[in-house]
């Protein structure tokens, strides 16, 4: 399923992540999952939130560089090797995976994985097949 991820550019400065979380909390926006990738001078905060549009608006009002990025939310069974099956399909189709993080850890309903690839549409087709 194609979903909107909230991406925030953050300088590596003390307290910056806290300010993002505070802004979202003030806007009554719930964070379902989050991943923080870091480079030397800055980081990229990627989140699945209850209302991405409202989240982006709230952050931009506070001066953050935020945008919505389409990503794929893929359900996988909570069993050994299931994520690998999904990734192998993508790889075999010649699609490059840019990043992956987990949204829902698992349990009886299975797990949900967030995937960003070089070609989201094609990835969707590959996974449906």
């Amino acid at each position: 399923m194609l979903v909107n991820q909230l991406s925030v550019f953050m300088e590596n400065k003390e307290g910056r992540l806290e300010q993002v979380l505070e802004t979202l909390a003030e806007g009554n926006i719930n964070i379902n999952s989050l991943s923080l990738a870091e480079a030397t001078d800055y980081g990229m905060l990627r989140m699945m939130v209850s209302d991405p549009e409202a989240g982006k608006k709230a952050l931009k009002e506070k001066g953050f560089m935020a945008r919505l990025t389409p990503v794929l939310a893929v359900d996988v069974a909570d069993e050994v090797g299931q994520l690998q099956v999904v990734l192998t399909k993508i790889k075999q189709a010649g699609i490059n995976i840019e990043y992956v993080y987990s949204m829902k850890a698992g349990g009886d309903d299975g797990a949900t994985i967030i995937i960003r690839t070089s070609d989201l549409e094609k990835t969707q087709e590959v996974l449906k097949a």
Partner: protein, 432 residues
Amino acid sequence: MIWNEAKECMSRDQLQTLQSARLVKLVDRVYHNVEFYRRKMQELGIEPGDIKGIEDITKLPFTTKADLRDNYPFGLFAVPQSQIVRVHASSGTTGKATVVGYTRKDISVWAECVARAFAQAGLGRDDVIQIAYGYGLFTGGLGAHYGAENLGATVVPMSTGNTKKLVTMMKDFGATAIACTPSYLLHIAETLEAGDDIKDIKLKAAICGAEPWTEQMRKQIEEKLHINAFDIYGLSEIMGPGVACDCIYHKGLHVNEDHFFPEILNPDTLAPCAEDETGELAFTTLTKEGIPLLRYRTRDLTSISYAPCECGRTTARLSRFKGRSDDMLIIRGVNVFPSQVEAALLEMGETSPHYMMIVDRINNLDTLEVQVEVDEAFFFDRLSELDSLTKKIGHVLQQAIGLAVKVKLVEPNTIERSMGKAVHVIDKRKLV
């Protein structure tokens, strides 16, 4: 030691007579050979005949770096190109280089001036001198090289970049002197200290220039290396290093006044300043053939003293430089204008135009960091794209200013917007 006693120690009266004769010839030459000066003089309503001596110099037009740029590349040359044996260039404000040309005689005058400077530092034919300025379009390397050869010393053309090799050769060759930027010399000193090599070197003097430095830094160098450190001044527009240099008494830089006539001007009114009053330094190249300049505004702030020096020289002395009357920065000997950074960023068009240059001196080497705000339109979610944007900006800036730059992407609206004149530079080097 005084290299050319006849010229460096002549009475002020004799010197004025010489300067007057040379100025009259110079004005005649530029009026007839350089369209730019002929037009300027006509605009001011003066003819060569109006200039009868050095006291008439204030009637003459000024020259600025912009004039060199507008006449790029050879427009201000006063001789046919067949007589030019070498060109040098330094960076200009908009990426266009400032080009200067030398005749064979110019090269020999230059070598004479630099030899005087080395002699002032107590050096001669028995010395082994390492030249550790960059060789190339920059005047530092070749300028110091020809001067040291003229002196008769054994010259080691190191250039810059390989400190380890420099240190090894300094020991193995028994180098007694080095010519380089002061910050590079401090870096060399630290390398020597780290390797416990100071006891093995024979260095006795250093001739440093091409960037501003303080009296404290000079003393620091002297203490670390147990040498005498001398301040050499020059700029490519006038000649290169060797326009002025200080002597063992370190009470100002002796100007080679028989070749370069100095004036100190109020930077706002351009009226002459009194002796010992700080103002902008301007030079008229009394003997230059390739690209003679009238009253070239250096933008360097200093004062001048005509009092005789204990060393015996009678030439005027410039006080230690107190800064600049424009926003030019000198970073690792390279002239950098904030407008170059701005123009490059705007031309590239993939960032916001808000930037901040942070100049620092880390381990005695100048560093330049340029902070650029991430622009909405070029903000990517992928780190690899941000990384390539950072690299691209770094490459574009390096092409524009000729200096390696550390680029740092920052969040929008974090660079201060100023209401008046925008502040684009934070210089953390403590120089004054």
